[in-house]
């Protein structure tokens, strides 16, 4: 575990150096650390952000200085507390053999019609597959939400079959419709809002991924297990209503 300052009001806890060689174990460790830190309730911690190999902790230095009684060494104090919490939790987890963190299964219906799948030929060419085989492979795999980012509610999904990995487009599109499902490098994800973007578009979901009036505001949360289900254009329209 490595703890580094991310400016004067945040720090990054890296639980592993690598992601791709063991995505599932790495994410389990990240989410375990995330839950342990969330439940520990260290005063002054105002936000947590898990991502791939790390958990970022955002804190209010004024409060941490007061709580620690060490205004000159508040970062070291906090880093030490974080290390204790994550290490102690990891040992406990091993004893009761409950290394599995709660992962909700979520199914996302996706219409892979050519109208929505603007770049599926590019992905197919790269993979040396037909467009139909790309759909089968993409909808036949299980993914895990590594983190939300880019824009509110954009899930970065790990677990894309290696064959489907396709470099981002050289020129990003100025506008991508909400619900667009894309492939960017070794990842797949869904654009929750109309936004610019450079990923290869292969389909669209009728579901709303981000709604700030809901709790939680995102359809997919870090750690969730995701499957895509291919739907027809008619099903897309009826689900959209």
């Amino acid at each position: 575990m490595q703890i580094t300052a991310l400016g004067d009001s945040a720090l990054i806890v890296r639980v592993r150096d690598q992601f791709e060689d063991a995505p599932e174990e790495t994410l389990n460790e990240v989410f375990r650390a995330f839950h342990l830190l969330r439940d520990a309730g260290i005063p002054g911690i105002i936000d947590l952000a898990p991502a791939y190999t790390s958990v970022a902790i955002f804190f209010d230095p004024i409060i941490v200085a007061k709580v620690s009684g060490k205004p000159g060494g508040l970062f070291d104090w906090l880093a030490e507390r974080v290390r204790e919490i994550v290490t102690a939790g990891a040992h406990r987890g091993r004893r009761v053999r409950s290394t599995k963190t709660a992962a909700r299964p979520v199914e996302i219906p996706v219409c892979y019609d050519p109208e929505f799948a603007l770049d599926i030929d590019r992905v197919a060419e790269q993979a040396q597959l037909s467009a139909g085989e790309v759909v089968d492979l993409h909808s036949g795999s299980e993914y895990r939400v590594a983190c939300n980012g880019f824009v509110s509610g954009f899930p970065f999904l790990a677990g894309l079959p290696k064959k489907l990995a396709t470099p981002r487009r050289d020129t990003p599109r100025k506008e991508i419709p909400a619900g667009s499902v894309g492939i960017g490098g070794a990842q797949t994800g869904i654009y929750p809002l109309r936004s610019p973007g450079g990923w290869n578009l292969i389909g669209r979901t009728p579901l709303q991924l981000f709604d700030p009036t809901k709790d939680p505001p995102t359809l997919l949360c870090p750690g969730d297990r995701v499957r895509f289900r291919a739907i027809t254009r008619e099903q897309f329209e009826s689900l959209k209503q």
């Binding site: 580094t4 300052a5 991310l6 400016g7 004067d8 009001s9 945040a10 990054i12 890296r14 690598q18 992601f19 995330f34 105002i46 936000d47 947590l48 952000a49 898990p50 991502a51 791939y52 190999t53 790390s54 970022a56 955002f58 230095p61 004024i62 200085a65 205004p71 000159g72 060494g73 508040l74 970062f75 983190c147 939300n148 980012g149 880019f150 824009v151 509110s152 509610g153 954009f154 970065f156 809002l193 936004s195 981000f210 700030p212 009036t213 939680p216 505001p217 995102t218 949360c221 870090p222």
Partner: protein
Amino acid sequence: MTAIVQRAGFLTSVQDLGRTGFRQFGVSTSGALDSFALRVANLLVGNDEGSAGLEITLGGLQLQFEDERIVAWCGGAFDVEIGSRALPAGHVAHLQAGDELKFGRAQIGCRCWLAISGGIDVPVVLGSRSTDLRANFGGLEGRVLHDGNVVLLGAQSGSSAFAKATADKSPPATGISSWTAPHDWASPANRHPNLRFVRGVDWNRFDDVTIQRFTIHEFSVSPDSDRMGVRLDGPELKREDETDLISEAVAPGTIQVPPSGKPILLLGDCQTIGGYPKIAHVITVDLGIAAQLRAGDGVRFFEVSLQDAHGLLMERERDLERFRIGLSLQR
């Protein structure tokens, strides 16, 4: 209990101290890019520090008030007028019903924050009244103000020192305080600012030549800067290794270096996760200066220790506490 937006100006939005606690969902901080300026302005008008105000970019805003209000603003060097009277930064004005408040163009810097007694009354979304201009929620319908909009104002506590002092005057008249908030707080903008930084998470990925370029040369603010980040032109910053980094959290103040070698200083609307190497982080007390950077400005970066960054922040909080007590004694 409203203010009418006669002219919305270039880019004006409702902001408070920002949104925290939702990073795991990819939700940006948003909020006043200089949260300290908004806190000071709020204290001046008798509001809670975290009340929602207006962030005005490059000026042009004109408001007319339906009822009596106390107002104050902090930020860049703007010409602000109530009728024909000037309202300088950090001074407090007691407005009468029908008064018009007009923001001219920014002379130095590019943003300022207007606090109005009672605050801007928009719904709290995900714990904040701030406008998220990228995801289009919060604030006034998730967008910037438009000409002709009507902005709802909250109930006034009447706790502004200046309101008490001017309340007995008859007939009621528009008044502007002679006293002011400390100049550094009210108007921190500068044409050639220095920003202090602590070493970035990926500092060691850059060689000595690059680090020297970063810490010695002046960088010029590029026109394609916005609330997400300030893009900087200057000597090219190159990384030693070209391996792709694993994406992880970024924060307002983070200076990341994309493959182009042109650094980007992230501001309040930045995304929560990024994959570019982070060479440095501007310290919290200097984020207000960063918020004033406009196209063509020259900026230099100076390293401080993490301890110094925290020391400066604590010192500023102590000063603000004194200021707060001073204001309450005037009541």
